[in-house]
Symmetry: C4
Subunit: 293 residues, 4 copies
């Protein structure tokens, strides 16, 4: 992967014009390899983190009442800043609608819309919480760093093991459905297992070894069933780890093999690369190979 390409704008993004202020701002906003665009990114990261922190603190009653005016002003400052950025993003790109409908465009809109809507629908507290999705905007910037390769390795291994993990989750959910029904019959509403969905919630909390303790078995039979369920959960916790580790080791080995195949001797006759370390002849044309050292 070429760093210059990666730090440039995504391939489907093109500037609205090749010259003038639009081109300048396009480079500031969408490119990430010039000093000014890096400063822009940094400013954005700080603004996003500060605005998420403001949303969090605003939900604390004592802070909300003590600093209502300050938080209100801060919120509008962040909203106006993000609105300006959003409008700019649309203005300088060649196909604004396409950007607006992309994942990043939708997240950008969700970051500013709730504040405006709160003017029309006063008291819509839960709407304001949507602003917390601003945190997702961080990943746009994170995507540009070298961490993207690491997350690529992790995600690829996760993607490769998706079928095995689906099978595993199916098995866990079947155990949960049956355990939930059994515990509902054994313990019943008298002991807090009010209905099967609640029992299933309890079974998930238990098999995943969380164990809140708000619902617990009280009968001897229920405790035996719980012990068995817990031992099953304790044993099969190994399965996703095993799946994922095996896949990750495989991934790393393949990457290594590929890396190795790039720096071995080429055949002087036909140019084939990737010969085994002990090969004395080209495996395609049979010509002699230079010594490997």
């Amino acid at each position: 992967m070429n760093t210059a390409t990666r730090a440039g704008p995504a391939p489907h993004l093109e500037p609205a014009s090749q010259t003038g202020w639009r081109r300048t701002w396009f480079d500031i906003i969408y490119r990430h390899d010039t000093p000014i665009s890096r400063n822009f990114d940094l400013l954005l990261v700080v603004a996003i983190l500060a605005s998420v922190l403001a949303v969090m603190l605003d939900s604390v009653a004592s802070i909300h009442h003590g600093h209502a005016r300050l938080l209100y002003r801060l919120e509008w400052a962040f909203t106006l800043l993000f609105t300006a950025e959003y409008v700019l993003r649309l203005l300088v790109v060649r196909r604004p609608l396409r950007y607006a409908l992309s994942i990043w465009g939708v997240i950008d809109l969700l970051s500013i819309l709730p504040t405006y809507l709160s003017l029309l629908l006063p008291g819509s507290q839960s709407l304001l919480v949507v602003r917390i999705l601003r945190i997702l905007r961080l990943f746009r910037i994170l995507k540009l760093t070298r961490y993207v390769e690491e997350s690529g390795v992790l995600a690829r291994a996760l993607w490769r093991s998706r079928r095995k993990i689906f099978v595993f989750i199916s098995a866990v959910l079947t155990i949960v459905v049956i355990a939930g029904a059994v515990m509902y019959v054994i313990e019943g509403p008298a002991n807090g297992f009010d209905n099967i969905p609640l029992s299933m919630y309890w079974a998930i909390i238990t098999v995943a070894t969380v164990g809140f303790g708000d619902i617990v078995p009280h009968t001897a039979t229920g405790r035996v069933v719980t012990s068995v369920l817990v031992l099953i959960g304790y044993s099969i916790i190994a399965v996703p780890t095993g799946i994922y580790t095996a896949e990750l080791i495989n991934n790393l080995r393949e990457a290594e093999d590929e890396a190795r195949s790039h720096d071995v001797r080429g055949c002087g006759h036909c140019g084939l690369l990737g010969h085994a370390a002990d090969a004395a002849h080209c495996r395609r044309c049979g010509a002699s190979l230079p010594r490997a050292d």
Copy 2:
């Protein structure tokens, strides 16, 4: 494994007759590779999921009272549907008794029996919960998909490590028995450790890191013992994961080795084995190699 074979009926299932409606229905029910039989499978999956959901919701008091009539009718609709399917399955197969006594036949019967029995034994609430086993019928259809291979890999690794996991569970249970007895002596009924079986239940919940918190140590000695128990549990949680991961990696490597051993050709001149799949010449002596296909 041949896809056609896998999608066909299980080897011990044969149609009752080679022609007529029985043959037609046999193909619809037991085969899985024609459009009509696939639609039948899909319909069955939807009916099973809907009926399991109905059983779950029926256990919620408010829903049970608010929609008693609807749920009752739905239940009878599902039961009649599954009964018709069950009778058909028996009619079109050559050896109905053999099918009825197989695992799938028993599960099919358990899926419909409770509703009929509830007419004879009114108020048998816990009997109705047996219907939740319908969820197991999903696996008959899951078995036909490509997920079966994935679960095969997982199950084979689990099967191979069965002895090691048995040894591990024995060690855990011995720790649990001794820890339970020790905590019963240290804490005693005054602190909620009423008897040894209850203490053992607590020890299982603790060593598996669930920790409900309904029973907790109150004495200093008890807390020291608990800390040691928890650290043991925390350290040995690694064991089943290690066992399983090692087995899974082994499995994958064997599959790879086997795949590789199929396209290994020996050099006719010097006898060297283990050539790359695309090699046309021996890498040692440069002699021509036979084509790999």
Copy 3:
């Protein structure tokens, strides 16, 4: 490992005499490869499990009061049986004192002593719990089965990784000591963190993700520290698993390599074994080797 040897008595055990009833009983008790000695083992397993179960049930108040007489008689029956076995074991072995002072001899004695002592020291309830150690006697018999090899693999990997696990436990304990002291200062006795040892107990329960919930942070700072502690615990839970898995994979690979080295070609000239698969000459004397197929 030779099965016959393994099923025979341990090497340091010798019969008191080579003929007569002592020799007969020595073979019954200490050997494990004749039908009669196998039946003896089986009887012992059943008696051990039944007696442990009796000790457990005796601790349940309702069962203790309802079946006091039955349990009392059962206990004496088991004690007399195990006493007879213990005396026999000492009588038929050549060096009885050596056996009595071995681990198994001590466990045998601990299994019967508490019942006799309860005659002298009435009301010594906690003494009777010592009888639960009878469960350890099962391992003497388990040792003779093929499971011993599996547990050998597990134990060897655990033994090899002992230093790494010691380092890990030291790191965890240091985190626990510091976190305990910090939480004691932040939360203090008012929030249940009465003193540093109690805070350390809480930190162990938390970092190992057990989380009983009997002691929980109530201040904002305390919750931040707890969150950090939990994330640390969540991340480093990987470490023992990683250590153990890597060791286990290594172990299996070595076992494989060793197995492979046994069935390769020997040099016809000097007899050296263990040549690489592609070797054409003996690596010691340089003589030609037969083709490997």
Copy 4:
């Protein structure tokens, strides 16, 4: 790594003078390979452990009141001992300021300062807890043992996987922020989810499978969200383990490869590399090989 070097003083530490009492004490304190310096180390370990234990016990109200005088005297004895050691360390080293500003120098100072400050600032209980950091001084001595290699392997694998673990922690924290906000909206202050930071604390405790149970969902929707959150946590617990295990296995393999590459000799006749350590002849052409040493 050379044992003598490792057991000697750190490279930047030089004695203040090459002869006299300063040199003698420098060797006692900073070297670790003579009998007297080893005894000094042992004495230090015992004093550190005893003083940490005293700090812990002093925080227990009953012990504090019952043994106030003893603990007070012990504390001053340890403080004077550690002060003497600290002053000596500064006196015998060539560049005392450099030592005082190193990590170990700061920890040494933090170990004694609180006791002196408690004379000036009476009642500064929380200050005294700083003394618990004395436990870190143990690692200076642990560093000299063979355990350092083991912890080196563990730490290197942790360091190599730092980027992947950073990505993982970022993903977990994003899930926590969103889950916290969602649960705050769904459950609200009425069910104990007072504000978003508290909800996030709950989400961390839940996703890490600790589950204190002080805050639990009470609505049906909240329980569904919790179940999903728990299943996510249960699945991704595999990720750090996978990362770390893969890295550790890689590390061990590299160490092996490196070890192997040191005794590789090339055949002077045909150039083949990779001979076994005990090979005297090339395995391909049979020519004599140079001795491996």
